[in-house]
Amino acid sequence: MAARVVKVARPQPMTRRWTPLLVGLGVAIAHFFRNLLGFARGRQDFTVYFPEQRFVQPPAMRGMPVLVQMPNGKERCVACGLCEFACPTNCITIFPAETASEVERYPEVFDIDMSRCMFCGLCEEACPEEAIVMSRQVEIACYSRRGSLWHKQDLLVPEAELKPRLDYLRPQYARK
């Protein structure tokens, strides 16, 4: 059980010139037929016809951060500002405000500058309320820089739509 040092086997000096080329050609032809057969059988390993077809993303996939919307239509966020602190690129802006309801604090302004966001997921990890989570949405291209500034109303996503992400996250909550 240890690392051994081995010399790499350097192939013999070239004596035969044509056989290696033919071997290479054979490999390429084998790949051609494999791909042709795969295409005929509908293999979709590597070519995804993008807008019509989508990649199958793993459960862990991190897309853009969004705010969780509770069934009553309000955000779960209590404007504590931890995501703002944790964000390495300072792309989150929060102005807190207060209401008379039971959970009195709420974000009056919650903006994320998606042109700066790098989808690192630290905001989600810092959030003490499960209020900001990484969605599976990555298609956020826009025509102007103003369009990459997402406001609270754009960021709110109903909790039911975020179920895949929450199902992935919740088993990890149990750790010490």
């Binding site: 059980m1 240890a2 690392a3 051994r4 040092v5 081995v6 010399k7 790499v8 086997a9 350097r10 192939p11 070239m14 010139r17 056989t19 290696p20 080329l21 071997v23 290479g24 490999v27 390429a28 790949h31 590597f46 993303q57 793993p58 459960p59 862990a60 996939m61 991190r62 504590c80 931890l82 602190f85 944790a86 964000c87 390495p88 790098m118 989808f119 690192c120 997921g121 630290l122 990890e125 810092a126 003490p128 309320e129 499960e130 990484m134 996250l169 990890q172 909550y173 149990a174 750790r175 010490k176």
Partner: protein, 398 residues
């Protein structure tokens, strides 16, 4: 040396050729100013720094945990290695030992990254020598490797997979079977590329004997990684300064003897196979248990406790807003990345932010003898030599 070709009667100065900063064969922004006498290189001046982003300065303004995503951007073809090196440097500062399962997951991530890096290096080098087919095979293999990283941490390139005192998440369920199928296919593709390239007359003529650096030069310039091992010097930090669980694993450290580009290629090819072996052993032996250290100085508490208990909630607020509790001191930790020794030198003044974070990047040291290796050679040797140096701009220029 003027190569003897310059005719004094003609009074012709050597031709100056600007190779880069944006050249199809420099995958990374680097400029090589070549003085040519016909095809012969009289002088090669390697100029780096076009991708300087101020990583080291930026680290001083962020908390320790906030710098982890930036380390992804150092070597963007093997980010988990940079993540691990940075986090282990901080752990060395704190003096903590991570749980064994965490170490295994880190080794798996590191070796997957090493495979992905070597595949990209070999593939793009082959493409620059006009072998486009193996490039596609190796990139397909790299995609299969990135699928693992995607399943582990949710991103393919900007992983942010390692945390100070732990990892972002445990391995997903069924990772072993998933990995066996995909890695077998990836290794098949690597073998296909090997069949096409290794004996190919064009490839070998351009690789063999070019880019020679003597072992003394390699040591003098501080070269590490596959470039050094191709020169016959078996310096692999996984073997000489074991970290994580490498002492318990069985793997070979391939070394070459000719110190030319072809040996660098062969060493990288063999390292891909050895990484496959290491991953298979890790997945077999990985123990159950926690993946995060239980240390309130740096690791954020679990969410169940944050949601339900006051002490952990306060702990979470303190850790996020103050960065954690770090003792003053300085520490250097290095590990074997795909290109060589990547090390982080941290100076802590006892606050949550590093006072200084210095990166010992392998690409920078590996680039330094490039001009020396090219001097007196042919113009066509620039491309394979540069390709086998595997300079990654993000890491070299920081």
């Amino acid at each position: 040396m003027l190569g003897g070709g310059l005719d004094p009667a003609l009074n012709a100065p050597p031709m100056r050729l600007q190779f880069g900063p944006s050249h199809p064969a420099t995958h990374g922004t680097v400029r090589i100013v070549l003085d040519l006498d016909g095809e012969q290189i009289i002088n090669a001046d390697v100029q780096v720094g076009y991708l300087h982003r101020g990583f080291e300065k930026e680290c001083e303004s962020g908390f320790y945990y906030q710098n982890i995503p930036y380390t992804d951007r150092l070597n963007y073809s093997s980010p988990i290695l940079c993540n691990t090196a940075y986090c282990m440097a901080v752990e060395k500062l704190l003096g903590i030992k991570t749980p064994e399962r965490c170490d295994y997951i880190r080794v798996i991530g590191c070796e997957l990254s090493r495979m992905a890096d070597h595949m990209l290096c070999l593939g793009s080098s082959a493409m620059e020598l006009a072998a486009f087919t193996p490039f596609l095979y190796l990139l397909e293999a790299r995609e299969l490797v990135l699928d693992h990283i995607d399943a582990m941490c949710g991103a393919r390139v900007t992983t942010n997979a390692v945390r100070i005192g732990g990892v972002y998440s445990d391995l997903p369920e069924g990772f072993r079977e998933f990995s066996r199928v995909k890695l077998d296919r990836a290794l098949e593709l690597v073998e296909d590329a090997h069949k096409i390239l290794t004996d190919n007359i064009v490839f070998r003529r351009r690789m063999e004997g070019t880019g020679y650096l003597s072992p003394e030069d390699l040591i003098a310039y501080g070269v590490t990684g596959p470039m050094l091992r191709a020169g016959g010097i078996a310096l692999d930090l996984r073997r000489t300064q074991p970290y994580l669980v490498y002492p318990q694993l069985d793997f070979d450290v391939p070394v070459g003897e000719h110190s030319d580009n072809f040996d660098r290629y062969l060493v990288r090819m063999e390292e891909i196979r050895q990484s496959r072996r290491i991953i298979a052993q890790c997945l077999e032996r990985i123990p159950t248990g926690p993946v995060n250290v239980d240390d309130p100085r740096c690791r954020w508490p679990g969410k169940n406790q944050v949601f339900g208990r006051m002490e952990e909630l306060i702990d979470q607020f303190k850790l996020v807003t103050e960065g954690g509790l770090f003792p003053p001191g300085e520490v250097y930790f290095a590990l074997e990345s795909a290109n060589g020794e990547i090390g982080f030198y941290l100076v802590s003044d006892g606050t949550g932010k590093p006072y200084k974070c210095r990166v010992r990047s392998p690409s920078f040291s590996n680039m330094s003898p490039l001009g020396h290796a090219l001097k007196g050679r042919q113009l066509a040797d620039v491309v394979p030599t540069f390709g086998m140096t595997n300079m990654i701009g993000g890491e070299c220029d920081r």
